[in-house]
Point group: C2
Chain length 302, copies 2
């Protein structure tokens, strides 16, 4: 595995090898099995596999956790080496945002609700850095996790709108055994907080059960989830039921709806989501705990 820190060097390599097919997994480091499931799919589906580690300052708002965001480069490097990644792109912030940088990429409607409402600059930062990374790494496929569902939808839209010739692959959320969605920010949790954190997922399974019992009214479901969660969390940013395509709130659960939550366990902001499927009959219902095992490439050794 080659580690490249310069944009010019990364792009030179990419322009030379792109015709053979480059797969790309952009990350902010602090890698966990969620990232590794992306890397494995990428490794399997492309001639070359490039991963990047860049804690992108422009997607953090003032007062957010840019400074404290977990940085575990040596461990990350070892993990990516083991997964036979070809290139690790690891640029510095000055390399990515030199003096005079002033171009904004903004996906409008899709970035307004959910996390966009609480984190107004977040998705603008994400869209621009991903556009940059796409041009630098020249992949034909790029891999994102469904845990950051809105991010994946925003990036898909950006890639489609700007005609990047890149397939955007969104892979299922990988969960801990107790259901907690894997996230680099889980490292912030104290042991007691870590015990409470799986309740986010449980509250969503609870909603799925209520739906199974016939409650299709979005307001009622959100209230129920809120009541379930409130005793355990410090603050709820949102509990939303939206259309998984356009992210607009739904009043009644349709065939497939997305239940998305952002809340604070202690001082740590965590997000999670599941798709609620309306069972045509009971037999169409798959118990949700299986989702964690449905991740592509997961069979290769988690």
């Amino acid at each position: 595995m080659k580690i490249i820190t310069r944009i010019s060097q990364m792009q030179r390599w990419a322009l030379k090898h792109r015709s053979q097919g480059i797969g790309f997994v952009p990350t902010m480091g602090a890698l966990h099995d969620g990232h590794l499931s992306l890397v494995r799919a990428c490794r399997k589906e492309n001639r070359f596999c490039v991963a990047s580690i860049f804690v992108n300052p422009s997607q953090f708002g003032p007062g957010e956790d840019l400074k404290n965001y977990p940085r575990t480069f040596s461990a990350d490097k070892a993990l990516l080496l083991k997964e036979k990644v070809d290139i690790l792109f690891y640029p510095g912030a000055r390399e990515m945002y030199p003096d005079g940088f002033q171009t904004e990429v903004r996906v409008k409607e899709l970035a307004h609700g959910l996390c966009g409402a609480c984190r107004p600059v977040h998705f603008t930062g994400v869209a621009a850095v991903v556009a940059k990374l796409f041009n630098i790494v020249q992949p034909s496929r790029a891999y994102f996790g469904a845990k950051d569902y809105q991010q994946a939808v925003v990036i898909k839209r950006m890639a489609q709108d700007l005609n990047f010739p890149i397939g955007i692959r969104v892979l299922d959320t990988v969960r801990e055994k107790d259901g907690l969605a894997m996230s680099s920010r889980n490292k912030y949790l104290s042991r007691p907080e870590r015990m409470k954190a799986p309740l986010i997922y449980l509250s969503m399974l609870y909603a799925q059960e209520l739906l199974r019992d016939g409650i299709k009214d979005a307001r009622k479901l959100k209230e129920a989830v809120g009541e379930f969660l409130r005793p355990f969390v410090a603050k709820i940013d949102y509990i939303e039921l939206v259309c998984p395509e356009n992210l607009r709130p739904v009043a009644t659960i349709g065939r497939v709806s997305l239940l998305a939550i952002a809340c604070y366990i202690g001082k740590t902001r965590l997000i999670d989501n599941i798709t609620l499927t309306l069972p045509a009959g009971r037999q169409a219902f798959f118990p949700l705990p299986r989702r964690g095992r449905e991740v592509r490439g997961d069979g290769e050794g988690t």
Copy 2:
């Protein structure tokens, strides 16, 4: 020459041929010798030459001339054929902006002044469509005219900020014999208006002469140009002296400054610019009328 109207087909061709080197001239059609000088340079410097014709709705503001913008497709096609262009990309507006399109590309500081002040949505529309075209056509070099100086600077910045692996070539303004900068919008001029239009260029040569006589104060120069022009034009949008790199207004002429003008001859808005060079001595001064003949590729048969 092959004419392609579908994005998918254009991109398929581009992905197949880009490794050999694609040069690209994006236009809005109504081609004149200014465009053709770009095409000739493109033809000379690249294995393949792609030109596009697309009157981009998103760079016209409400009340601007989108509807009346000159469309001369048959003549354009004949000209490009004669210049041995390989591909003419000619998409429709629905192809470029399908339902759900919502991504904005915005170059901030550079797009604020000059034409950006009078046409607030213009450069956002330009930046997005050029980013799209870059991804669709996959060029290694793209060609723009210096007549639209601010546009060229904005695109250069966008390409650099988003790390497009594309060389942006900006070629000198091509002028009519009487000095009028070639522009598709010159077609709007009545014969009497056409007689007045070269005064825009003359007023800039006048400023160069005043500078030569030692007047370096930007305010004085702008006033003098304004007095020169005012009897002939219906309205002046701006007369500005700026730094050619960051487009910020200058108070005193530095080594190289840009004099830029936007004004209306009748109902037609025309823009033009020249670089004013501060002569170290008189011998450093090149008489400006020669600029029109310094265009690259111009020797090949204008």
